[in-house]
């Protein structure tokens, strides 16, 4: 080593910052670059340079410019320089193929050398730089070296074969016989390296070496008999690494194979017994063998005797004072428990104590083990311990996964539903923000259905699943199922949580609000008024999210409707939050306002404890068949499937393109009136809604194109229509409708239809409430009668959903008998509505589909109290409810206008 290099190293050692260091190295690299450009360098200088390069590279600098120096150096005849060259090459070029090829030549030469040292260096280098393509170039040489007289060379050659084997197993496996010969080598350490090859094979293809089990057992016997020369002992333990390797191989070979396992049992037992000596001496290698024995026993075909011994041995590890041994003991037990559940019985307390250790790795292992040994008797204890561990945990990712796993565990093994609810509340209080929503639905389901509690006393021993089934059966027997005691219990807990007014995670409040909203009438420790005040306070609290706030409003609505009690504070809440920025909250407020105005049907909208009332959903919408047939009879077009529509659209687009071309030229034909007609209120009977849509597109498109040519009709109220002049006294309704149009420009015609229908239906409901209003209107009364008839037919469905189904049911009869009148009104409406210009087409299937979705949403809304199957989509349904109910409100107003209009006409 030159003084220059030494100086560099010392300077770098004195550097105080990374920056200084980098500057020095960069200087050095400039010097080195100068040297590499020289044509002739002395070998001594060259090797010195290579050492410097190694140093720079170690500190993370790119020295690829000088890799060639290393290769040059490796071709020196002097072994010292050669060694440095090879060393540098093996470090520099592990993935650079071009340089690897340059190396091959000198490696081949050195493999044939008569100097052991040269061969040895070359072999070491091969293991580091070899790629699949290079194997054939050196394979034959290495195979010869397997029989070299020096054990060191044989070992290194085997190591090279191992790297070959890893890179391309297929081409090397044919030399398996050669490796088998190596097992009988005079030098046991050579055997040890050969075992590595077999370990690899036993992992990949255990069947191909089953015949060798006998020789492996023999070697193992030989080692533990102590007949080997002393130099192979490590601290009085005979060749520990080779023992470990043999045990590993045997465990792979004996896996799922009772016959092979039986051959192995005896020797494993012997090894285990002998390793105890090492254990007493406190040598790690001895522990290692014992640990390996436990692992092997767990993998072999189970033998009760050995498993017992293994569990005793594992106990020694766990009870040890060294963290290393504890860690391994816990790992071993984690595997052992799967085959031999009794293994942990004696050590449970020690295992749990490991959770209080300062060693994070040990704790994580222990948690894994605890997950496996949890059962019904220790669940509450273990969960408690895990939670206290969780509180100390900082890694959020790990924490999240652990929380969900603990929840799962509680669900699986929990026998007592009260305990389960309390535990989950505890978890939610602390880790609420880490919990997924699934667990919330689970809890809601549990409380509403009530499963375990009732049967607990009689059938404690039965499995959870059966209990759940029982719960289900029970729920079928009673009207809606569930367990009143449980509900009282949970309502009490949750109303208390609400009353505490602490900044708990939102998810906990959401559960609480739902439960309280649903079952507040069962609450024993608070009166409904108290809880309502608490909820009002909660809504005003700063620490809850808008989502929870919205749920709180719904909970209030439910409570009011269930108890019939009303508080002044609710008014202020409604007032305050009707203007909230959050649309969800706003909608719920309006909805609450609307519902509270309808005292007669309030208990139908929000019936008591109806979560388990199965709502029958007819996915085919069979009740509409009649209506569809009628519509078809009346000349409606059939439903066109989506594919067909897309086709038609494409064709239409082609047509439009042609139109475009045309529009650029002069037009000699007369203008076609259809555009203006479309935009006015001309009624084209039996026009398909779909066609209308297309026309609409056309209109907008053509208007864009022909803006300058055609008359601008939009925005001008048209008084003259097909039916004559209709411009008087219609300002009022028109205005309102214009407003709504502006709101829903996109789908004017469709929405309008819907509005009309909804309006009619709401009318009907109004009729139920106070007939006087509508005495003037014969048409609507007519409808109403029809409706009632229809209702009688469908009594089944109507109990809960009469409110919603009325709406749909009414359409059939309405068109059947009251169609004309209906259409009149609609025409009227359309006539007034000149700007939209879309007239009411008869119902098509397209629209029915729309109804279907609306209907489905309504059904979902019925299950605001979680329909069982749809629990995940509940949130969406929840919202949809608001939308639809909100529209109903609007429609109520609108129908009133319509009624006025109709009466005037009449």
């Amino acid at each position: 080593m030159t003084k220059e290099f030494e100086k560099l190293i010392r300077e770098i050692g004195d550097c105080k910052s990374k920056l200084d260091e980098d500057r020095l190295i960069e200087k050095q690299i400039i010097i080195l670059k100068k040297f590499t450009k020289k044509k002739k360098i002395k070998p001594k200088q060259q090797s010195e340079l290579v050492l410097r390069l190694l140093f720079c590279q170690l500190l993370g600098h790119d020295v690829s410019f000088a890799h060639i120096l290393a290769i040059n150096s490796s071709q020196e005849s002097n072994l010292f320089y050669k060694f440095i060259g090879y060393l540098a090459a093996s470090i520099f070029i592990s993935t650079n193929e071009d340089l690897q090829l340059l190396m091959i030549n000198s490696i081949q030469k050195d493999l044939k050398s008569d100097k052991t040292l040269a061969i040895s260096i070359a072999l070491t280098t091969i293991t580091k730089i070899i790629t699949v393509d290079m194997i054939p170039a050196v394979l034959s040489n290495v195979l010869i070296l397997l029989k070299h007289q020096e054990p060191l060379i044989r070992k290194k050659a085997l190591a090279v074969m191992y790297t070959f084997l890893k890179q391309s197993p297929e081409s090397i496996l044919k030399y398996q016989k050669d490796f088998e010969l190596m097992l009988d080598d005079k030098d046991i350490s050579v055997t040890g390296v050969a075992l590595d090859l077999f370990l690899f094979i036993s992992k990949k293809k255990p069947k191909t070496i089953k015949h060798l089990v006998v020789s492996f057992v023999e070697i193992l016997n030989l080692i533990i008999s102590g007949k080997l020369p002393l130099e192979y002992d490590y601290r009085e333990i005979h060749a520990p690494w080779i023992q470990i390797k043999l045990l590993k191989i045997l465990s792979y070979l004996g896996q799922d194979d009772p016959n092979t396992s039986r051959e192995i049992y005896q020797v494993v037992q012997l090894v285990l017994k002998q390793s105890e000596i090492g254990f007493i001496n406190g040598v790690f290698a001895g522990h290692a063998i014992m640990h390996e024995c436990i692992k092997t026993i767990t993998k072999l075909y189970p033998s009760t005797k050995l498993l017992e011994l293994a569990s005793i041995a594992a106990g020694r590890f766990v009870t040890s004072y060294s963290n290393n041994l504890k860690y391994l003991g816990i790992t071993a037990l984690t595997d052992l428990v799967l085959v031999y559940p009794e293994a942990t019985n004696k050590h449970q307390i020690i295992i749990v104590d490991c959770l209080e250790d300062s060693d994070e790795t040990l704790k994580r292992r222990t948690i894994e083990l605890l997950f496996r040994i949890t059962n019904k008797s220790n669940i509450s204890f273990i969960v408690e311990k895990m939670l206290s561990y969780l509180k100390t945990q900082k890694d959020k990712k790990y924490k999240t996964s652990l929380v969900s796993r603990i929840l799962k565990l509680a669900e699986e093994h929990g026998t007592n539903i009260k305990w389960y609810i309390l535990t989950i509340n505890k978890i939610l209080q602390i880790f609420g923000d880490l919990v997924t929503h699934d667990i919330v639905y689970n809890i809601m389901k549990l409380i509403s259905e009530g499963s375990l509690l009732e049967d607990e006393e009689d059938e404690e021993d039965e499995e959870d699943e059966e209990d759940e089934e029982n719960g289900k059966k029970g729920s079928q027997k009673t009207k809606y199922g569930g367990n009143t005691a449980l509900k009282i219990f949970s309502v009490d807990i949750y109303s208390e949580i609400i009353s505490l007014k602490r900044p708990y995670p939102n998810i906990l409040y959401q559960i609480s609000l739902w439960v309280v909203g649903e079952y507040s009438y069962l609450c024993s420790n608070f009166t409904t008024e108290e809880t309502m005040i608490n909820i009002v306070d909660l809504i005003n609290a700063f620490y809850i999210s808008d989502e929870s706030r919205a749920m709180a409003i719904t909970a209030l609505t439910k409570m009011v409707s269930h108890s019939g009690k009303y508080l002044e504070q609710i008014d202020t809440i409604i007032q305050k939050y009707s203007t909230s920025r959050n649309t969800d909250i706003r909608q719920r407020c309006f909805e609450m306002k609307g519902i509270l105005k309808l005292p007669n049907i309030i208990d139908k909208i929000l019936p008591l404890d109806s979560i388990n009332a199965d709502i029958e959903i007819d996915p085919n919408l069979g009740f509409l068949n009649e209506f569809v047939e009628n519509s078809l009879k009346n000349g409606c077009k059939k439903y066109i499937s989506k594919e067909e529509r897309i086709k038609m659209e494409n064709e239409l687009q082609l047509g439009m393109n042609e139109n475009k071309k045309k529009s650029k030229e002069l037009r000699f034909e007369a203008y076609q009136p259809n555009n203006t007609q479309q935009s006015s209120t001309w009624r084209i009977p039996q026009q398909n809604i779909y066609e209308q849509e297309i026309n609409k597109n056309q209109i907008t498109n053509t208007i864009e194109l022909e803006d300058s040519i055609s008359l601008k009709v939009s925005g001008i109220s048209q008084r003259w229509t097909e039916n004559g002049y209709s411009g008087f006294k219609e300002n009022e309704p028109k205005n309102i409708e214009n407003q709504t149009e502006k709101m829903e420009e996109k789908d004017t015609s469709d929405d309008l239809n819907q509005y009309n229908n909804l309006g009619d239906n709401n009318n009907n409901n109004n009729d139920d409430d106070d007939d006087d209003d509508d005495d003037n209107n014969d048409n609507l009364n007519n409808n109403n009668l029809n409706n009632q008839n229809f209702n009688h037919k469908n009594e089944k469905i109507l109990e809960v959903k009469s409110f919603r189904f009325n709406r749909i049911g009414s359409k059939g009869p309405m068109l059947e008998e009251g169609q004309k009148t209906n259409e009149k009104i609609l025409n009227n409406d359309n006539n007034n509505n000149t700007t939209t210009g879309q007239q009411k087409p008869p119902k098509t299937e397209e629209e029915l589909k729309r109804e279907k979705t609306v209907n489905a949403l309504f059904n979902g809304a019925g299950s605001v109290r979680t329909s069982r199957k749809k629990s995940k989509s509940q949130r969406i349904n929840f919202n949809s409810k608001h939308i639809t109910k909100n529209t109903i409100e609007k429609n109520l107003e609108k129908t009133e206008n319509l009624i006025n209009l109709g009466s005037e006409k009449n």
Partner: protein, 171 residues
Amino acid sequence: MIFSVLIVNNRGKPRLVKFYVPIDEEKRLPLVGAIYDVVSQRSDKMCNFFDGNHIENEELKKWGGDIKFIYRHFATLYFIFVVDGTESELGMIDLIQIYVESLDQYFENVCELDLIFHSNKVHQILDQVISGGLILEVEPQMILNRIKEQDDFVKQTKKESKKKKKKKGRK
């Protein structure tokens, strides 16, 4: 098998970086840094192993899922072995012990500076213990004998070459 042997000092400076699997040059030091970060956080009371899932690194995933880190802390240096599931943890601890013992005997009371100034020797000794990711020799005395043989051999060749030069000069 053994994937990698690392020697890092207390401040995270690598003193020896050896990989027995192909890895791109630019990816080596980031990986060493990531491993050092975990190792340096651990107190001496903790156990000497940890799992691969403590470190998120794409290279580690390439080597397979079952990766263990076994390390020992001597004075200013961490000796870290990266191995797969086929190696025994305790066995590796002893192997580190053997390697350090050999270094100690060769340099007579080894210290960090020895590793810096004689990096080629450190590599050479390691190559005696491990080759291609396999354990070759576990007896410190044997290892030292080999190294001494090599040293002697190199000296001999040097002398011979000097003699040759002298002869050439005489001629």
